[in-house]
Symmetry: D2
Subunit: 99 residues, 4 copies
Amino acid sequence: MVIAEVSVIPMGTNTASASQYVARAVRVLRQQKIVKYQLTAMGTQLEGKLDEVFEAAKKMHESVFGEDVNRVITNITIDDRRDKELTMEYKVQSVMSKI
Amino acid sequence: MVIAEVSVIPMGTNTASASQYVARAVRVLRQQKIVKYQLTAMGTQLEGKLDEVFEAAKKMHESVFGEDVNRVITNITIDDRRDKELTMEYKVQSVMSKI
Amino acid sequence: MVIAEVSVIPMGTNTASASQYVARAVRVLRQQKIVKYQLTAMGTQLEGKLDEVFEAAKKMHESVFGEDVNRVITNITIDDRRDKELTMEYKVQSVMSKI
Amino acid sequence: MVIAEVSVIPMGTNTASASQYVARAVRVLRQQKIVKYQLTAMGTQLEGKLDEVFEAAKKMHESVFGEDVNRVITNITIDDRRDKELTMEYKVQSVMSKI
């Protein structure tokens, strides 16, 4: 299992708002049941197997393009730990317990 | 108001676990009442004025160093929108309403 | 063609030095002739087709794991523009000409 | 000394081209002699003291705003190593020597 964060930024859209384009990428995730996800204010966090997460990220990136968008900048951060099973919840709890 | 995400990574710590070092950075935020924050699985999200957020991010970065840590890689993403008041909650709701 | 930047960070390695682990990821790129690449001080920049770049990034990520490394944090930024052919050189020249 | 990478993305600009906006940020660096910098295809890399680099990054971010831009997303990665003097050149050479 890896935990990842994906953020998509459309360029040249004539509006400073990004939510409708981010919604396209989140819809990709809603239409599958493989990768778990959590929308946040700065990106969408994913939890799944490495290959699945890469596949989902690629589809999210692709979904943002359209008639009105011909440039997309996508950032993907992958946290892959193999001596221990990571989950999104565990990572947050682990820090909370040490504060 | 800007929304930001800060992640700190200690290097050469002899353990694959990062939570105790991330906890140092979150403690910095708990000890102040200026910048609002939210811990997530992939970083800590901040909400505040640009200068305050920069100041908080710098202190978070600094807090990770210690006897056992002499290299820290910090990533900061700042989303600064000036035609509209952004909040963490508004950003998430705005996407959710369009899915 | 997309331009991308990939950075790999090994965790729990007992040394603050990362170069030997980054070298593993760059070796992956040297052993193929599909994706063009350029090593920089903060990451490796790639130029190629979207699928090829994703494939290369995944292999770079995988290459860092080993007996001494069981956690890797990989950051990938993809700049994908479809109304114009981007190259690494063009992007730099385009900014330089406007300074 | 820290090494950093700063990338600025203007939103809602009506053009998929970013170079004129990135040029504003690079001009900020050209007008000072404190922080060393190197433009790349995916961001501008900085070398200097931590405070100076933060200051330069903040000015770069601010410079992108204008009549035509009211939202800027800036990403800053800071690599801060204190047991050894890092330079941009040293980091690249160190990896090259191990490939």
